[in-house]
């Protein structure tokens, strides 16, 4: 169990460190919202999911994309704005998608994909599929109206969805306590009728255990509706970009220090035998090198791509007529 978790964690951490390293060269033509420090949430929650299960994410979704098995080459090429990127250079780092891996996209507008995930889960239930949907969002999203509306509908229709609130304490630079009269996100979920659990301290092993139980309960039918987790975590880097933001004064390095000392990458590394760990690390480093080279060597999209994909072209009048 520790080895796959470590691989997932280490891969996310190292990809993002590499992104931060390359960023100043201006080769990455995309705003980057790094999840360094928060990797444990995505790694733990996605671990029990199968490839065909579905996740929806946020603009800070590199970790979700990678933890769910998203293609690294396509991700980096996308951030370079290349035609081989996962959206052909049209979405950028905030709209990563990999349908084959069950990554159904992410939104730059906070809270937006919560409802999309619920709609996907409605389809799953209607079609009597075994798929499980997982919706990732931040603490800020819990203040959007769509959060309350979506939870209500998911409970009403008993949908196979797990909500994961990745609570890093800040919406850009504003702390949760400056935004919420009652900073109790689980309480809001319970009010909507959801079983909700708060997991403190970015604790990857607890998150993994609870996520596994929730996924199994949906698979086995012992749970007949959605579940909710609020996972406390911490963003080490600035809101957007590769640097730190402690100099802005809205938070202190001393606040961050316990989270940095409680680094889940190091914690899980210590649980993996040295030989296996070295193999994992070597494999990830090779994959990253290959992916960076792929992104750098890929071509920018052809200019004709500017006007394609506005509409799904199969729905030309001729095609509709044929269907008739």
């Amino acid at each position: 169990m520790y080895e796959p978790l470590y691989k997932s964690l280490y891969r996310i951490r190292r990809v993002e460190e590499e992104v931060a390293r390359i960023y100043p060269t201006d080769k990455l033509k995309s705003p980057v919202h790094l999840s360094i420090g928060q990797e444990a949430v995505a790694a733990a929650m996605c671990a029990p999911l199968d490839r065909h299960d579905i996740v929806f994410g946020t603009y800070r979704s590199h970790a979700t994309y990678l933890a769910k098995g998203g293609d690294l080459k396509a991700m980096l090429a996308e951030m370079y704005g290349k035609g081989t990127g996962c959206t052909k250079g049209k979405g950028g780092s905030m709209h990563l998608i990999d349908i084959d891996a069950g990554v159904m996209g992410a939104s730059a507008v906070v809270g937006t994909t919560i409802a999309n995930a619920v709609g996907y889960a409605y389809s799953v239930k209607l079609k009597k599929q075994s798929t499980i949907v997982m919706s990732f969002f931040g603490d800020g999203a819990s203040e959007e109206g769509v959060f309350a509306e979506s939870l209500n509908f998911a409970v009403l229709k008993k949908l196979p969805i797990i909500f994961v609130c990745e609570n890093n304490g800040y919406a850009i630079h504003t702390h949760q306590t400056k935004r919420q009269g009652l900073p109790d996100i689980c309480g809001r979920a319970r009010a909507a009728g959801l079983p909700a659990e708060l997991i403190e301290d970015n604790d990857i092993l607890t998150m993994h255990e609870r996520a596994t139980a929730a996924v199994n309960a949906l698979r086995e039918g012992t749970a007949t509706g959605p579940a909710f987790f609020e996972c406390k975590t911490y963003r080490w880097k600035e809101h957007v970009g590769p640097g730190e933001d402690f100099k802005l004064g809205f938070r202190s390095k001393s606040e961050a220090q316990p989270w940095i000392e409680n680094d889940q990458v190091k914690r899980v590394a210590a649980l993996v035998p040295a030989v296996a760990r070295k193999q994992i690390e070597a494999a990830v480093e090779a994959e990253i090198q290959e992916a960076v080279a792929f992104a750098e060597n890929s071509e920018f999209p052809d200019l004709s791509e500017l006007t394609t994909d506005v509409f799904h072209t199969v729905s030309t009048p001729a095609a509709i007529q044929k269907a008739a």
């Binding site: 579905i54 929806f56 990127g85 996962c86 959206t87 052909k88 250079g89 049209k90 979405g91 709209h95 998608i97 349908i99 159904m104 996209g105 939104s107 507008v109 937006t112 994909t113 919560i114 409802a115 999309n116 995930a117 619920v118 709609g119 996907y120 889960a121 409605y122 389809s123 799953v124 209607l126 079609k127 109206g145 769509v146 509306e149 979506s150 209500n152 509908f153 009403l156 394609t308 994909d309 506005v310 509409f311 799904h312 199969v314 729905s315 009048p317 509709i320 007529q321 269907a323 008739a324």
Partner: protein, 374 residues
Amino acid sequence: METTLCIDQYTPHKSASSGAAVASPKPERTLSYVDAVREATDQEMDRDASVILFGLDVDDPKAIQGTTRGLVEKYGPERVFGTPLSEDAMTGVAIGAALAGLRPIHVHIRMDFLMLSMNQLVNVAAKSSYMYGGKVKVPLVVRSMIGKSWGQGAQHSQGLYSFFMHVPGLKVVAPTTPYDAKGCLIAAIRDDNPVMYVEHRILHFQKGPVPEKLYTVNPGKARITSPGDDVTLVGISYMQLECLRAQRYLDDVGVSAEVIDPIWLAPLDIDTIVESVRKTGRLVVVDNGWTSCGASAEIVAQVTERLQGVRDVRVQRLGFAPVTCPTSPPLEAEFYPDSRRIAAVCNDLVHGKSQNWYPDERPELKDLEFKGPF
């Protein structure tokens, strides 16, 4: 009288340009707009199990003026359901369901309520195909209704389709006749892209020929509903009926108006309108909305761009008064363009304002007013 106007639109005529939708033969059967919408939904749900229907009150006893009547009994509460009062999330749910392969029809009994759905419609539905590089599609139909008469007022009367015409990735259709109501809805359901399907409450009362078979009225084709030579008169949604009435008034003074129903506003069949204006040299666009940045502004701009330097063109837009819709009957009447005002404006363009002609009301061309309660 209303029936006459709708049936007239299918009389074949010589001057239809090749780009316009072909006039259909007059079918035997007559249906109301409401029943045409209901039948299209029923037939498509029967044909395709991926079609689902939801929205506030679609399953209640009034069944959205009857447009959804009987469907929950026939297709069950999983495919037909009323929703919580959550337009934002339910639009997001519709998009998520569409991403998963369903074909949702999301119904709003007032177009005004779509303001609560704008984030999902503009930021997700319209953009998903493009921003995900064509990897996903959102086959979604959003039905919404525009109100008029009997004091519907500020927030129950707005024709806001130009908002959606502005955004790449959305299709917009505002059918006028029962025939188009059915054909456009079937086309919208089968379209792999989000379609904003706009109904006008007054049009719900109209009756007209509607074939029983399934057929589509496809995106991007306007229809010349009455041929003419002196002025091109484009009427959107309900204003199409006012334009057809205006055309009757103009007959009295020997002005021949060519009336065009764009049907689909996005994609817009500008070619048919341009060809008509190339002939007439005069264009009046009557919108069921405000003129500023509206559908009428867009049509006039596109025609002017195409014909500048080619043809001297005189243009005029008509639409809602540039105020919030009032409720008192005399103020409300002043707020909307009507057939006599449209006719007078057309005559001014043809003969000059010095004639100062304003037609006396003909009772058979009087508007059918909506009566409460609603």
